[in-house]
Symmetry: C2
Subunit: 211 residues, 2 copies
Amino acid sequence: MTRKIPVKTLHRFSMIYCCLLESLAAGVSRISSRILGSQLGSTADSIRKEINYLGEVGDVGSGYDVAKLAGRISDVCGFEKRRTVAIAGLGKVGSALLENPEFENAGFDIVAGFDSNTNILETLTSKVPLYPASELTDWVKKLNIEIGIIAVPPSAAADCAARFVAGGVSGLVNFSSTTVAVAQKGIIVRNLDMICELRFINSLMTANQKA
Amino acid sequence: MTRKIPVKTLHRFSMIYCCLLESLAAGVSRISSRILGSQLGSTADSIRKEINYLGEVGDVGSGYDVAKLAGRISDVCGFEKRRTVAIAGLGKVGSALLENPEFENAGFDIVAGFDSNTNILETLTSKVPLYPASELTDWVKKLNIEIGIIAVPPSAAADCAARFVAGGVSGLVNFSSTTVAVAQKGIIVRNLDMICELRFINSLMTANQKA
């Protein structure tokens, strides 16, 4: 049995899991908490504490069995459960995501793409069905879409998020360079804001230069 | 005078700053810690604690003066300092980033693009100078590039990061769907991994469904 896992630890598990899959692909069968920590910008100690939430996963002294640890994280986090995903905004970034085979490999089925530009809908060739943005909420309901990816321009992001939420998604990943907030409880929003990350790097550079 | 600011708080400042700029653009002149908290998925209390690191920024009772708080964060974090940026990997995502005017608006000058595909270098039209990936380290040195953006395929990400680091960058933003780690101290790496974020949402959905 596992204890209730804090949200922060669940986020770390998804990062640790990525590292483990990369290690497996590289033919690595055992990995230490120190190596995992260095790959994730963390300490061996904090990695061990997080992995403790998973219960028994093998001997820490000789490192973790990579395949076993990955399997345990997958079980606890439910990574074997496939999820349905839609992408709103089919500009360069959105259309690149549509064709990314890694989604399917990772258990995420892209079942719809949306754009408000009829020209894009008519000219873009994709195996994923494409629909007008005005029909987003309806299609999210019809197709039981669980996760929405927002790749629209910043000015349209809040409206796009509201349409996804009205359709009943459980989670949003926001790629537009703006912050999206959702008031409804239980809906998870992840803002991946490039400019925000660049500013953070800038602030660390500034802090390092002052020190 | 301000106290030494924890790295986590610096990251929050860049997020708070994004919210403040959006509020200003929307004509909002005062904002409460509660509103900021709800926009950032945090509590009013934790927002106030973070803002306390900035010293005197105005009356909390009536909310913060948006422009003044943004200015104070910018001063403390050094956001007025422009930084030079290069993008490696000019596929759909990388080339979309090249043309994004928000970088320049936010103080980040994209001064070079790199790709290993000669065909892309010859056919892509951009006001940003483009160079072969084999010359990346040399150009990073010559142009004093401070931040590298990695938009290459996952298999090329580690090598790309190493070239940026050899050239002397201070920070990396990694957009390839893989984790990049850098052993050198003082170099900041931000991994923006879409698949990792989707898995995190999956794990939260799983946890909510169990609860």
